[in-house]
Every structure is written in C-alpha cells, then in structure tokens.
Amino acid sequence: MSDDYILEMRGITKTFPGVKALENVNLQVRRGDIHAICGENGAGKSTLMKVLSGVYPFGTYEGEIVYEGRPMRFAGINDSEHEGIVIIHQELALVPMLSIGENMFLGNEQASGGIINWNQVRRRSSELLRKVGLREDPDTLVTNIGTGKQQLVEIAKALAKDVKLLILDEPTASLSEKDSQALLDLLLEFKAQGLTSIMISHKLNEIKRVADRITIIRDGQTIETMEKADVTEDRIVASMVGRTLENRYPSRTPNIGEPIFEVRNWSVYHPVHPERQIIKNINLNVRKGEVVGIAGLMGAGRTEFAMSVFGRSYGTKITGEVYLHGKQADTSTVGRAVNAGLAYATEDRKTYGLNLIDHIKHNVTIANLPGVARSGVIDDMGELKVANEYRRKTNIRSSSVYQITGNLSGGNQQKVVLSKWLFSDPDVLILDEPTRGIDVGAKYEIYTIINKLADEGKGILVISSEMPELLGICDRIYVLNEGRIVGELDGREASQEKIMRAIVRGETSQDMIERAAS
C-alpha cells in the first residue's frame, strides 16, 4: 500500500506553564482512512487536536504540521476550516434555541451583503441532512431533538464547510447504543466516499469496528501506531495504560444482607409536559452490600428516576414511597434525602456535580459542611484533613487539594464527585454513569471504590449505558424501558442478549397493551 498521507504532524511539543502536555508527538494519517486516536484521559489527545485545528495557534507549540503536502501555520480555527479540517468537539457546540438550519450555517451564513437567503439555507441544509440520514425539518429548534440527532447535525454542519479531514472527539460518548451504531455506519459510508476522518474514542469495540489505523498516546507521547490487522483489544489497553489489565473488573465476593433501600410504586410526570408519564410505577430494592445495576437505552428514564427519588430534582406529580432500612424516608428535598442517607452522583459532573472554578477541598466537603463545622463555623484544618483523606482514598491525581477542579481530567473529576458523596456518609449511593468519558485505568479505580463501598455494607445502585460494565460489577440488574421495569436479572446469569431481549419484549408487550386500549 502506498503511503499517501493527507496529514503529518511531526515532533509536536506543547507546553503549558509547568506541564508538558505533548512531547514530540508524531501522527501520520493516510488519505481516506478512519484513523483512531486512543489514550487515557489527560494523555494529550484533545490537546493534539487543538494544535491541529489552530485553537492553539502556530508559534505556541513546537513541531510541524504538513497537510496535503504543504506545511501549515494556522493562526486560528478559521484557517484550518478554510483548509477543510473540521473538528467536532465532545461537548456539542450547537445553539439550542436556534433552528437546525441556522446552526448548520452559523459563521458560514448563506448570505449576500449580510442578508441571509433563507431559501438557500433550507435547501442546502435539507440536502446535507439527507446525507447524514437525518429526517428533520431544518426549521426545528435544536433543543427539541435528542443528543443523537444533534450529533448528526454537527456532522452535517461539518459537511457544509466542505470538509476534507473530519475530526471527531469522542463522538459516541453521550449516544445510545443504537445511535452510536448509526453514527459509525455513517463514518464508514463517508469513508467509502473518500473522506478522511480522525476519531478520538475510548470505546475499544467501536475502534475495532471502524478504524483502519490506531495511534496510541500516553502521557503526551505517541506510543505506537498499529494497522487494523494487528489490533487486539488487549494490545490497545496495554499500550494505553502501560500495563496489561488482566481483568477490567476487580473481583469481589458479595456479602449481601437485608434490603436497605426500597422504592415502591414510583411514578413521575414530565416537568414541562405534565401529561407525559416518564416513570411508570417502579418498584425496586437494593440490599446491604449489594451492587445493583439499572440497564436501559438512552431515554428509558434511568436518570429521571434517580433524580426524582433524590430530592424530587426532576419531574412533577411524583407519587410513591421510599424506604430506607425498612422505614419510610422523606426524600422530598435534596437536603432531606442526604439526611436520610441517600447520595446521588450525577451523570453530568461538569453541569451538576462540581463547582469547576473552586478547588478540590471545597468541592469535597460541600455536601456535608456540618461535618467539618461547628455551629456554622468551618474548622479550616479539619476540612483540610478530610480533603486530604479522600484525595488519598480515591486516588485523586493532583498537585494538592488546592487544585481547581476545572483543570482536572475527567477521571479525577469523577473521583472528586465520589469523594463528595462518600464524605456525606450515605447508606445508599446512586451512581449515574460513574465511568462515562473516563479512561480504562480510572474506570478500574472507580470499580474498586464501588466494591469497597459494597464491602462496607452500603447499597449501590449503578446506572450505566455500558452493558459490559453492568455485567462486570453488578450482583443484580434491573432493566428499564420507557419508564417501567421490564426485567430483573441475576448478575451471574445476566448477559447482553438477555438485557436486550428484556428491552425488546418490554416494548412489544407495551405496544400490545396500548393497541388493546385504543
């Protein structure tokens, strides 16, 4: 195979004050390939892509970018887009209250003399939406479509810019299994049309499915680039973490006691459309020392269920009872839920979990300030001791507890969120997507923490979209679909097929009921 490189990055070194984020990184991308970049969080993948796209302009890094055979010196993101390099960030950059069409041509408006030609916007956006397989009216507001579709809008937006090299930063991180598959199929289709893509991903099965070549980055350095044929999951994992992970899930001998957490007849309606029932009469329980999973597709109502239980943080017309240690508990506000012994670590740590502009110490103690204070006055040294203790316990990697949480990697941020809830000393922890967007090594650490908590006799409820994860760590798994529990599986007997079957069967039986009713 002739090596026709569309892009070569040579000897890229990027330093931030005090940290070498990238050190002599080399990347060669062949024309027409899907090139995957793997690495732990904080390894430098996103930094590398920011160098490539001109977010970090020429002169702020060392090394050379050769694109289409010419050396490039991008002063900003406009320069790289002009050359056909388009990056789609992990956090989508769409304006929710603008329409799909308006978003697609944002900064690239179909206008002459400053006056927008709306007919052209509609025509071109419909055309591009068809290309990405999205059937939506270009006038629909972005806020009214799901995350999966928003991702497609982002891609359509990239196509509108005449893209030659498409960079996707963890494109499937917040997508359901089905949407992820559709997205990957789309990438393969683009590849067939000759488009080159770079995909940053944590998900090994996706990489194996679509990537032609894989470059591993670790600690700011390129470790190796391998061809598809040479790839095994073990080899990727080994390169990424610098060690072989024998088992991705730490083992545990469960020691399960009596039920400590029970939810009975729980129903919740949508906060904006109160006629829509989101949670339909859920009954579940967690026993002492047990790790219980909630499986389900995106939109099944898992987060909505957890948040409605935790201080009615979601929904209206909530009915049902919560029992802790066999006694009915008041969880009607977050404060009361915490006092009752409940904790909920959110799926979205940046929006709901952390004060990103404050340091670790203040974030760890915020849910239990009375624990470090006497009659409203904080014991400074006591607080420091607590923060240090949890930093050590959860192995948060930082220079000190005075590091700002916004500067931590995803895995370490997640550990701060966990620390916060551990310090509130709950009996039952609800962990919503505890390992989303964090790397293999940190995942293992989180699982270890979960196991330790279970061994201490706490009840753990884990919500996850990654079925292997649930199968790996749970003693029991509930399957949730469209707001109701459609299955309960023993952890040892559960399998991905059984979960999926429960979901599918749940759907059909529901359809039958509805058909009968109408």
Partner: protein, 418 residues
C-alpha cells in the same frame, strides 16, 4: 511495558505554597494598586491627600459605599446583581428622617425600625428572585424605580432635617478619648495667647491604643493561622512574602492610626465599618453560610444537587443587602444632616464598580471582602484626589470609567495567562 502509572508525586508542600501565592496574588496586586494611586495623588496634591483631616474625610465620604459593597459582594458572588441599593438607601434615609424629625422618635429606635424596613425590602426583592425565578437585574431595576418614586412621594420635594445630635454622631462623631490627649509638641500661640489651629502635635491616645491593639490582634491571628497550617504540613505563601506582607500592612495601619490620632481620633463610622468588615470576612471565609454562597455562585445546579437550599440562600443574601443599604442610607443622611429626595441616587453604580474593581467575577462564585473594600477605597481615593486637584467632574467620571474597565481587563488578562 509494565510501568505502573503512578500518581505524580510532586512536593505537596511546595505545590500548595505556589497555589496559595497564586490565590493571594490578586489581593497583593490590589493593595499595591491602592498604594500606587495614593502615592500618585500624594505627589499631585502636594501631600494634601495625607493630611489627617483629609484621610478622615476619605473614610467619611466612602463609608456608605463600603457598607453597601459588603452586601453587594455577597450578591455578586451569588451570581446576582442589585441595582436598587441606591434608591433603597435614599428611601430609608427619608424614613429615618421622618421618624426622627417629624415624629420625634428616639434615634436608636428609629434606626432599628429603618434597618428592619430595609430587611423587608431586601427580602421582598429576594423572594421574587429566589422563589419566582425572576432575574435579579429585572427585580432590582424595578426596585430602583419604585423606591426612587417612593422617596419623592414621601418627602414631596422637601428636605427633612436637621437630625437630633445623637444621630448626627453616627457620621460626624469620633470615639471619645477616655485616657486624655498626649501632647507631643505644644501648639504655638498667637499674639493674643490663643493656640494656632493645626500647629503642634496632640495625639488622641485612645485611638492610638485601639489601633495598636488591632494591629497586634491582626498579627497574632495571622501568625497563629500560619502555624496551624504548617503543623498540618501545609505552608501558606513563602515565608519572606508572609513577613513582607504583614510588615507592609502593619506599617500602613500604624501610619493611618497616627494620622487619625493627630486629628480627632477614630470616626465612629469607621468603627462600625471595621466591625462589619471583620464580620463579613469571617462569614465568607469561615462560615458554612458564606461557603454555600460561593458554591451556589460557582455552579448553582451542582450546589442544589449537593443539598444546598439555594432559594433560601438567595433570599437571605438579598435580605442582608437590604439591611446594609438601609444602614448606608442612615449614614448618608446623618452625614448630610438631612434627608433629601435626591439622596442615594446613582450610588448603586459606585458600589457595583467597587466590587468589580475589587476582583469579583460578574459570572458569580469569585470575589473577596477585602477586594471589595480595597476596590471601594481605590475609587474613593481617586474621587478625593481628583477633587483636590480641581479636576472637573466630567473628567473625573471618564477617568473612573476607564479605571473600572482597565481593572477588570487587567484581571482577565492575568487569569488567561495563568
């Protein structure tokens, strides 16, 4: 390929020293800016700025701004804004005047009622902001108009005054000299044998004593907290910095105390301010209430999901702001010795400017009490200095506007670089 990924074991002590330094750099910068500005005006006013009587004036002129800046700091850290404080202070000044002058009420009782009304006003605005979820900008803009109108309605265009003497003392009185004056240099006598004013040096000894005690207390607390930190393995800023910082601050304080002592002593209103500043510093740094305000301003959703009752917290923040606006209104009225329909107008802008010059973030979650106080003094010294220099009000306004913009721009530039 079997190297363990170990946690970066940086020297925890040194790293935290660097963090502490970074955290304090802003405050040092503010102090240095204030000193530089004072030096500049000392030069351009031929030293008039530092006359004892003028320093006392600076305190009196800015007392009500600083009192309100304390509340505004909480409001801005909480992620809100309060545009109504000027009008509210004017309204409360008028209420106090009507109670004391028209109805002859006891000044202490009248002041207590006035501050209670301030609390109700602040609480009412806080209710709309916290529980009805109306943006604070809109609620307090409405408050600005309502209370501006109410003053006019209540006073009907007249000015009410003068106040009872006891009440005037709030703004024009000085602490009594319990020990008696110390004469360092006897004043020279004129031909008639009477002492010439402003000659000789007679010191207000109680002021000296209170001042020395305060400086001593400050040093004691600083050293104790540093010791405590060190005993837990965390040094604060580097030792040289620590010594230098405390030396400079002590020297400034002692200088100011000497100046006050050589005039008429410490103004009463300065004592009120000092107590409030100390209370607000303690509240923001050491109390759970203060910590929760920062958490809410930094990320309201996360604070809510951490069990913080953000609605109640917002309500209290605005209630406190209302009380402080009321107190400031009384101070202002006592200083003028009457309540006028125009009192307090536009003060909200000075207060907000002081807080932002002092390093608070308009996005919430960031800001310090010391910063707001120093910010208020920076603006106050500029007012005073430019006034002495005889710069016209038009130029003064423009210069102050540019300083506000410059201070915030400089701050953001520094943050980006860091």
């Amino acid at each position: 390929m079997s190297t363990e990924v170990a946690a970066p074991t940086t020297n925890a002590g040194r790293a935290s020293a660097r963090d502490a330094l970074k955290e304090n750099l802003r405050e040092y910068g503010l102090v240095i800016a204030l000193i530089a500005i004072m030096g500049f005006f000392w030069f351009t006013t031929n030293g008039v700025l530092f006359y004892s009587v003028n320093l006392t004036n600076i305190v009196l002129q800015n007392s009500y701004i600083i009192v309100m800046a304390l509340g505004m700091l909480l409001v801005i850290v909480a992620g809100h804004i309060d545009l109504s404080v000027g009008s509210v202070s004017g309204f409360i000044g008028a209420v106090g005047a009507v109670l004391m002058v028209d109805y002859g009420m006891n000044p202490l009782l009248a002041a207590a009622i006035s501050i209670a009304i301030g609390a109700v006003i602040g609480g009412a605005q806080g209710y709309f902001i916290a529980y009805m979820k109306i943006p604070s900008f809109i609620v307090t803009l409405a408050g600005l108009l309502v209370f501006k109108g109410l003053v006019l309605f209540m006073l009907g265009g007249r000015s009410v005054g003068p106040f009872p003497t006891e009440f005037q003392l709030l703004s024009s009185g000085f602490i009594p000299d319990l020990i008696g004056p110390i004469t360092l240099m006897a004043p020279s006598l004129n031909a008639a044998g009477a002492p010439i004013p402003n000659s000789g040096i007679i010191l207000h000894s109680t002021t000296l004593l209170v001042g020395l005690l305060l400086v001593g207390l400050m040093l004691f607390l600083e050293i104790r907290s540093r010791r405590e930190r060190e005993s837990h393995g965390y040094e604060g800023e580097p030792f040289v910095f620590f010594v230098l910082k405390n030396l400079v601050i002590s020297a400034i304080l002692l200088f100011l105390i000497y100046k006050f002592a050589s005039y008429r002593g410490l103004p009463n209103v300065l004592m009120v301010m000092a107590v409030l500043i100390a209370a607000f510093m303690f509240m923001t740094k050491r109390m759970t209430f203060g910590r929760r305000i920062y958490a809410m301003g930094g990320n309201e959703k996360a604070a809510k999901l951490s069990g913080i009752n953000t609605e109640r917290l917002t309500f209290f923040v605005f209630t406190i702001m209302g009380m402080l606006a009321a107190l400031a209104g009384l101070i202002y009225a006592a200083r003028l010795n009457m309540a006028t329909p125009k009192a307090g107008q536009g003060l909200e802008l000075d207060v907000i400017a002081a807080v932002f010059v002092g390093g608070a973030s308009a996005l919430g979650g960031v800001g310090q009490v010391t910063g707001a106080v120093i910010g208020a003094f920076i603006m106050g010294v500029m007012n005073n200095g430019m006034g002495i220099m005889g710069i016209n009000i038009d130029w003064q306004q423009m210069i102050k506007g540019i300083v506000l913009l410059g201070a915030v721009a400089f701050d953001l530039y520094n943050k980006k670089k860091a």
